[in-house]
């Protein structure tokens, strides 16, 4: 079961990861010319004209854009969180539902295997791919940045881990919501909408004290890259919350799936 799931989901993993790698490669290729000859300082000066709330939302108040690593710490990771988040949420919402949507569930349900085992194997495979994507992108960033400049590798390593937290929660949330429907088409819109809503809430929450509460509604808060950049450590509360949310939503998904009508 696991072997088959690994094979089935490999193509999606390669497409998503490959696309990200190409984009990062292109950025790293052209970025040195953007910031060369003191142009990076000009970019930073230009940014000073932006409202501080906006700069804070993209970590630009604590990381300059005068180097590729600076770009990665600010805009780069925001982009990575979003894309890894969408991939994880889609994987969560499709991994069980695909069998129902493509009607192969009647075959699968007749096999001598429990529903719990079916779900568990699919969850394990999803986790393997989500973590592999984060590792591949992290290693690529590490290699690419070390070729062009001398980044703070300890900080880069910790930053590379941060996408794990929103990603696993979005995966589990997608998985749970998928147990309420039979069609993957419905889940596509819901998943993407959910990730973008969380992303926008996360950005808005940085824009003033009045809207600060929104950060509790955004899973991207769990990445807390500001803490890594300013203190060079992961936020332990976010780590615990992520693991707890993952466990809760997976447990709820298993309970729902166990009772679900599959046709």
């Amino acid at each position: 079961m696991i072997k088959r799931e690994l094979r089935v989901n490999l193509r999606g993993f390669i497409i998503w990861t490959g696309t990200m790698l190409v984009l990062l490669f292109l950025i790293y290729l052209v970025y040195p010319s953007i910031v060369s000859d003191g142009k990076g300082n000009k970019v930073n000066e230009m940014l000073e004209a932006f409202p501080p709330e906006l700069l804070k939302a993209f970590n630009m108040d604590i990381a300059g854009l005068d180097s590729a690593f600076g770009w990665l710490k600010s805009e780069g990771f925001v982009f990575l969180y979003l894309i890894i988040g969408i991939y994880s949420c889609l994987l969560g919402s499709n991994i069980l539902l695909k069998e129902e949507s493509e009607k192969t569930i009647e075959y699968l349900a007749a096999l001598p295997i429990t529903r719990r085992k079916v779900a568990a194997d699919k969850i394990i495979v999803s986790m393997i791919y989500i973590l592999s994507m984060i590792v591949v992108l992290g290693v690529f960033n590490m290699i690419a940045l070390n070729i062009s400049e001398t980044p703070d590798n300890a900080q880069l390593l910790l930053l590379s881990v941060t996408p794990v937290f929103p990603a696993i929660v979005l995966f589990a949330l997608g998985l749970f919501i998928s147990t309420f429907t039979h069609k993957t088409k419905k889940m596509l819109g819901i998943s993407i909408g959910m990730v973008f809503a969380a992303y926008i809430l996360g950005v808005i929450s940085e824009m003033g004290e009045k809207v600060e509460g929104f950060k509790y509604l955004s899973v991207f808060t769990l990445a807390d890259s500001r803490r890594v950049i300013t203190k060079s450590e992961l936020n332990p509360i976010c780590v615990v919350i992520s693991v707890v949310l993952l466990a809760v939503f997976i447990a709820l998904s298993l309970v729902r799936y166990q009772k679900k009508e599959l046709v």
Partner: protein
Amino acid sequence: MSETILEIKKLTKYYGKVKGVENLSLSLNKGEIFGFIGPNGAGKSTTIRSIMNLINKDSGSVWFDGRELTRDDVEAKSRIGYLPSEVFLYDDLTVKGIFDHHESFYRNYSRAAGIHEKRQTLVERLKLDESRKIEDLSLGNLKKVGIVLALMHEPELIIMDEPTSGLDPIMQNVFYELLKEEREKGNTVFYSTHILSEVSKICDRVGIIRNGELIRAGQVDEISDKQLTFVTVTADDVDALTAALGVKALSQEENTVRFANNMPDDELIKKLANFRIRKILIEEATLEEMFMHYYEEGREDDKT
């Protein structure tokens, strides 16, 4: 006394307010082919999906070989083969790939020890090409793959929903032979269909389902031999005749009337003796006619 392999007890399933099946009880004996007949929407697939635990029952239970069949009873599932009415398999695999995948689930079951050999025999007899991709298969070939998957692990109970749709007549005969061989080995077949000729051809017993309720069950011969006859009479006053007999005309043309009759022949003739009969024909109902009769009767009941 024959041993029961599958027992459905008071099964009820509603989809919202729409009835799927209601209070349906049924049992299958070891080593028989049980025909489950009814038109589309009668509740056949709901019954089968309830057995397979694909849907949740509102009430009632399903028992397999003396124990309640729950959705996670893996050991029981290893002894059941299932062919759904429409076969959907993994498009990315070849026929060989899906058979290998299927085999991998039965390695720990001694009953399925000969799974690979049986697969080869079935592939040969159904003339399947294992190198072809699932997505390239025609409806008939897909059905054949489904048949192999339902039979290859030597199940004791084989549940089939409209199994011959898509099969050409030659393959249908091969398929009937395969089912008879399964019966000879002592395996049981639950055969759901709306094709009545199939039932008379291969089934030992039959259950008729109408509007979610089992209206008759018994030996195929027994059901066919029940008192129902079709009588065609030419008489002077057919209206008075049908009124006196309390029957409804199936067709009427001038002085000739055709009606379904449940009375014993002796009683019928005594009642007809009161009229001037010119011509009479009494025909034994075939299984098909029995079935249609029960359905027509049902429709009338539903109207009233």
